[in-house]
Every structure is written in C-alpha cells, then in structure tokens.
Amino acid sequence: MGRTHIWAKCAALGLAVACLGAPTKARAGQASDDRMVLEGVPGHAGGRLVVALRSEPKTLNPVLAVDEPSREVIRCLSADLIHINRASLKTEPALAKSWNVSRDGRQYTLQLRRGLRFSDGAPFDADDVVFSFQVYLDEKIDSTQRDLLVVGGKPITVVKVDQYTVRFEMAQPYAAAGRLFDGVAILPRHLLEASYKGGGFSEAWNLSMAANQFAGLGPFRLKEYVPGQQVTLERNPYYWKADRAGNPLPYLGEVMFLFVPSEDAQVIRFQAGDTDALSRFSSENFAVLQKQQGTKGYHLDDLGPGLEYNFLFFNLNDLGAKNLPEIAKKQSWFQDLRFRQAVSAAIDRDGIVRLVYGGRATAIWDQVTPGNKLWVDDKIAHPKRSVERARELLQSAGYSWKNGALVDPRGKAVEFSILTSASNAQRTKIATIIQDDLSQLGITVQVVPLDFHAMVDRLQSSYNYEAAVMGLVSGDADPTSEMNVWLSNGETHLWHPNQAKPATPWESEMDGLMEKQLVTLDYAKRKQLYDRVQEIVAEELPVICLVSPNILVGAANRVGNFRPAILVPYALWNIDQLYVQ
C-alpha cells in the first residue's frame, strides 16, 4: 500500500492563479495542424520504455479508476483539457488551446484544438467534451471524480458553444477552476455512448476487452494486456503534440507496464535493468541502489521533500453518542493544548528522519512541506526537541510523576495507544519511535498496527481509537486540494470529522480562512490566508506534523528528457517527451 493511503488525486481542486488565465487568442483558421509544440531537447523516435506497477491496473476507464496503477496507465492513454505542468506546478493548455474566464469568475469558455483525432482515428470535438462531463457528473455512475466537479454544492454545467468551443458554468466563483480540469480525461463519445446509454458503463473498458475497443487522446494507445503480467501501450500516431523541431510526439514506440507486486521486487528489477524508471520507493532501497549506481546503467534523484506529510493526531471527536468511556476519559488530556504541545516537543523528529528515512526526509511542524515552494510558510517556528520543555508544559498543566510514570491532575496514569496501518512499515516505525520518545516523559504508549480497512473503520466510523499516525499527500500544491481536511465539516478532518458546527474557535477560524481562499483570486492574498491556516495547525496542533519524506526516483541512463517532479506521477509526467537512446 505504501504511501497510497493518501488519497488525493493529482487532479485536485485548485485555484487557477489569475495570471495563468491570460487568454491566448484562439488562432483563426481550421488548420489541421493545431498541434501543441513543446520546448525541450528533441529526442529519438522509437524504442520501448519499461516501467513497473505495484499492481495491475484494475480498469482503463478514467471515470471509474480509483487506484494509482490504473490512473498511471490511463494518464498515458488520455488527455485533459487544461493540464498542470508538473515541473512548474502551473496550468498550461492541453486539449483546450485557450480559455476565457468571465468577469465574475463563474464562466469558463474553452477553445478546443482542431483537427485532433482519437487514437483510433476518430475526430475529436466539443461533443466528446460534453459527453465526458455528462458521464463524470452522472450520479448513477458514481464516478469518484464527480465530487471534484461539484462547486458550491452544484455540479458544473457544460454547454457546447460550437464544434470546438465549450462553456463551463459554476454556481459560485471558483478560483482554482483551471486546475480542476487536470486529469479529467476526455472520453471518445463514439465508443462509450452506447454502453453509457445501455447502462453497462460500470463494466465498460475493463481490461478484458479487446484493444480496439479503447481509444483516447493520450500519447499512447493500448496494444496488449496480459493478465497478471503486463500491459503494453503503443505510440498513438494521432497524438497532438510535437517537439520544436516539428517531430511528432511521443518519441517512444512502446511503453510497457510490468506488474511487480512489491516495492522490493520493483527495486530489484530496476537494479537488474528490467525496468527503466522507478519512483515511490523507500530511502533504504535508495541507499541499496545508490551503492551500485556507478556500475549499473542507472541514476537516482532525490528531489527533496514532496507533498506528503506524516503526523500524529489524537481522537478529539465528540464521543457522547458512542459508548467509549475509556477513551472519553482520556480525551481530557488530548483536548489540553499543553498536553499536545508537550507531546510535540518530546518527539524526536530528527530521529525519525534518520532512523525511518535514512536522512532522506525533512522534519516538519505544519502541513505544508518545504517542497511546496508556492505555499510554504517560512515563519512557522521549528523548535528543537526538548524533553525538558515537554515536562515543563505538562507540569504547568497539572501533571506530575509517580515512580517515573506520568499521572494527570486526577491521579490517573497517562497511557494511550497509537493506531498505525500494519501494512505501512514506515508509519509503524514512526509510532515505535514516538513510543520510545514518550516513555521518556513517563507515558506508556501501545502501538496498535491494524489492517488498513480496520483502521479506517475506527477513524471514520466507530471513533474507537486514542491516537493515530497517518500521512496525507496533497494531490496538488494548491491548498484547495486540502479543503476536506481543514474544514470542520470535512470528512477528512481526521481528528474530528463531519462537525455540524466548529467545535473550537480555532477550527471556526480555519473554516473561514479556507473558504475565503477558495474564492480569492489573488495569489498573495490567498497565500496570506493559507499561512494563517498553517500557523493555526502549528499552534493548536490538531495534528502534530512530523516528517515529510523526500521524493526519490531513479531512471536508466538511456532514458532521455527524464525530468522527475515532486507531484504525482513523479517520473513519467512527461512521458510524451521521454525517449530512449
């Protein structure tokens, strides 16, 4: 499962930064060559790139895919209207060659590229876009993307203006709307309309279908799927991008995804030269690979901290209705800010960085990692670990020690349990280190590894837990992708989700800040608002942020134009430009 718990998709809500919106005038003329030209070093055509996937893609249906392997493959097969450039983290034109935003920020008019064809040769136009959004928004389909496309409580409406123009309307101004289109793959109406209308859409485009049943606008198209082994993609001859020398993209003749079920096996196969690129692997394996970097034909990159943040949080839910008296009693500690501060002060973040990540991680004190350069707040304090300070804080809150064990003001010994996901070795290790750290405060901690489903059940339904170590990845650098986490009525407001009204003043303040940044168009103003959110997190410690692991990638030396990014998909985002020597 690795770090995939973190559910945030690359296509996330975001605020189109106003400057990006500067609409390029649609080029007149019906030039069939409405191709997008990319800068960058031209490469060689042909060749095959082999990449490992942790598990098989479950479906190639962009509407239904929820798991990362499926999305990884779908990304190569499809295209979106407006794309977030992984290197710059800014939006850029894709199938939409340009777009206009109305004055009130509620209307987006997109000019589509002309003369584009799906990978089966069928032409692409506004009808495909309208159809795609119709499907995504259909309540009966249960697309997980639907929720993204609901702004201000109402679904976006899509109108075909002409064959190559579409207009989107939102219920309220929505600053990050440009980013919203990222990852929303445009579907071929000619292939999918029948199954959609016929009610068989939930089975459409699963992998048991013949390759010619699929088509997309991405750089590649499906060639062959061998269950349990691999899926092979071939170059899409109708792809709509070219390099600056005018060569059609992509360069690669084929992309092969091998199914390699474990991280270790992936590392081994990369080391053996079976695969050409590698991402999402542990720092320990990074170290193993590094030792042989010189002799084998690959190179490794440590891109520094990504967008993942790992944290410890306590159960602050209102347990009135649940029959959990034991936990309810302990909540008097958890609700005490000084207690949380003491815990935060006692945790050896550097120790975690060193022992769990071999140094390839960064200690953090709030949710925005140093990797998110646009939004990180430099003013957040980074206090060193101090057991003394922790003791002072506890003493001031009325705690004392008896035979070395911490007791609360009522004389009850302080002990609690930390849930972790049994399948995530790193987080279990973090919890173990916290356990040891807190034992120095006289706190007895039990680490309870549960299988992930059971853990989610406790966090989200039964609230039968005391504390937990979790991690989240922002799918996008933009704070909008985190709305659900910081809004008090959010479902991922982990420590106390789905609040009817904010339980604490600071949560109420956060709600205000998050909602305001959503409709603010100016980056600087939004940054100010989000900085305040970060400060609240650092001060009130609803989650005690601990560490952000670095993004580690590797690629065979023969892969050209390899420019990994800290945003998913770390290594292959520019697969249309990759080539092999």
Binding site: S202, L258, I268, D274
Partner: protein
C-alpha cells in the same frame, strides 16, 4: 467405479459448499470493506462511497449476498471484483493457469529429486551419507520459506544469471514460438526451483520413511534370499509398494505446494493467483478472495481425487476389491 466417483464428487461438492459458506462468513468478520479507504480521500464524498456500496450490493446482509453469489456460481459467475470492475472468473482463469504451470513444474522437479534422494537415504539408512542428508533436509525444514525465497532472490540479483521476476521478458512479443517457450522456461526456472526446494525436505523425509518401511517387509528379504540384485529389489519390488503411501502423500502435498507457491509468486513476481490473492485480501476485494479460496479448494479436492485414482491404477489390491 462410476458409482464411487459420483459419491466422491458429491462429497467434494459438499465440502466446497461448506468452504464457501464459512469463507463468506469469515470474510465479513474483519471490519471495513473495499470502499472504506475511499472515505479518507478528501475528494470523495460519503454519498459517492455509499453509492458504490449499493451498486455492488454491499449494503445488504451477508446471507443475502451469499445466496446471490451462489446462484451466480451455478451460472459460471463468481461474482464481481470491486477493484477490477469485472467478473472474477476471467481474472482467475489466466492466473490459475500460471500458478498451475509453476506448481506443476515445481512438483515434478521436487518429486524427481526427492524420490532418488529418499530411496538412497533409505537404502543407506544410518550411514553417514544418510545422516548428512538428514541434517541437510532438517536444516532446510527449519529455514522459513520466506527467508529461503528471499535468499534465492538475492542470488538472482547478485549473480545476474536469472531474471528477477515476471514470467516473460519484455521482448517476448518479438520472439518465435520456440523462443517464447525458452523464455518462459528461463523465467520459470528460479521460482520453480525455489518452490521445489521448499517442498523437498518434507518429501524426502516421507519417501525415506516409506521406503524404510517397505524395505523391512518380509517379501524384500525373500527377494534378497532368492538372489535378486539389490537394484532390482529396489526398483521392481520396493518402489511399487512404497508408491502406495507416496501417492496419498502426493494428494496432500498439493495443498502444501499451493500455499508455498503463494509466497514464491509474491516474492519472485510470478503472475499467478498469489499476488492476486494477497492484493485482494489487503484490499478486501471479497469475491476475488472467495474465488481464490474456492479455486485452491478445488485444486485440493482434485489432488486427492487424482491420488485415489492413481492408487486404484497402481495397487492391484485396491483394484481387485471392487
């Protein structure tokens, strides 16, 4: 004979039915379902998750779902995979084929190695070579399968002589028919070897003790007393008689083989039912788990049935009674 077969098959069907009921019930025990983790996705609303649940009928009580599933089974439908958005049966079919290829090969090797080894150590009972062999097989028994497989993997990685995973190389598509077979054999070698080594020690011990028992039988002494050469005594007299317990052992070893192959497949990335099962277990893709469990039960039942039929073919004493 046919009567016997139908009875056996009826028993097997009953067993499979029981396995399915209990498995289904067990699968409901652990909290959380396939869609639970989606709740943690900041972008997916609870309503959507409920919609997905309803779509797959997860909101209904399990006996109802079981009935539905069972009805499907009789029409060749093993239920849907949540993760794959597709029926389970075709998912399983290909992987079952690969698993059979792997376990079949490993089984063949294990028996081909174990039979001579077991015989030799039974004949040389108590001699140093037997004792040394005993220590080696016991030592192999004590090594956890997991560590053994990883060590083999390490060997492959360090030496570079063998592929480190997968069933075919990336250039498989360009190969000729013969080249393809060679390629599969090349990839099959290490996982099959690992599996064979893992099952070998127990086999050798069993074969050894079965042979020792037969070699102590009076008719062996009688054969020797008639001046029949040791070689013929072993092959013509002892082995066919020892075959009887060994064939039963073969039936049992199918189960051992299957559970060991799960690990091998995961560690050496063999595209069999192992990785599928593990993934499905962790993701709570219940019908896939159920299908896999049923499949391995079927293998198990078939293994025993084949063993019985073999016994019937080999042992005239059994043959004559009916």
């Amino acid at each position: 004979m046919t009567r016997y077969l139908t009875r056996r098959l009826a028993h097997a069907a009953l067993l499979l039915l029981a396995v399915s009921v209990f498995s289904f019930a067990l699968l409901q025990l652990a909290p959380g379902d396939f869609f639970a983790p989606l709740k943690l996705n900041p972008q997916i609303s609870a309503r959507t998750v409920e919609g997905l649940r309803a779509q797959y009928g997860l909101d209904r009580p399990w006996p109802v779902r079981y009935g539905h599933w069972l009805r499907g089974v009789f029409h060749g439908d093993l239920g849907p995979s949540f993760a794959y958005n597709s029926p389970v049966a075709p998912l399983l079919a290909v992987r079952a084929r690969n698993t059979l290829l792997l376990t079949g090969t490993a089984m063949l090797w294990a028996w081909l190695i174990a039979i001579p080894l077991g015989i030799v150590s039974a004949v040389r009972r108590g001699k140093w070579s037997d004792r040394a062999g005993g220590v080696v097989t016991s030592a192999l028994l004590t090594i956890p399968d997991l560590v053994l497989f990883l060590a083999i993997l390490l060997l492959a990685v360090r030496s570079g002589w063998f592929p480190t995973g997968g069933m075919v190389s990336t250039a498989f598509g360009e190969l000729s028919g013969r080249g393809r077979a060679m390629d599969i054999a090349y990839h099959l070698f290490l996982p099959a070897l690992a599996l064979a080594i893992a099952t070998l020690p127990a086999l050798v011990r069993h074969i050894r003790s079965a042979m020792i028992e037969v070699l102590q039988a009076p008719f062996i002494r009688a054969a020797r007393a008639h001046g029949i050469s040791e070689y013929r005594v072993l092959l013509r007299y002892a082995l066919p008689v020892a075959a009887n317990p060994l064939i039963s052992l073969f039936g049992f070893s199918v189960a051992t083989m299957l559970s060991a192959s799960l690990l091998v497949e995961v560690i050496l990335s063999w595209p069999g039912i192992g990785p599928l099962l593990l993934e499905a277990i962790l993701a709570k893709d219940v019908y896939v788990v159920l299908g896999t469990v049923m499949l391995s039960s079927v293998f198990l039942v078939l293994g025993n049935l084949v063993a019985d039929l073999l016994l019937f073919a080999v042992d005239p004493r059994i043959r004559m009674e009916s």
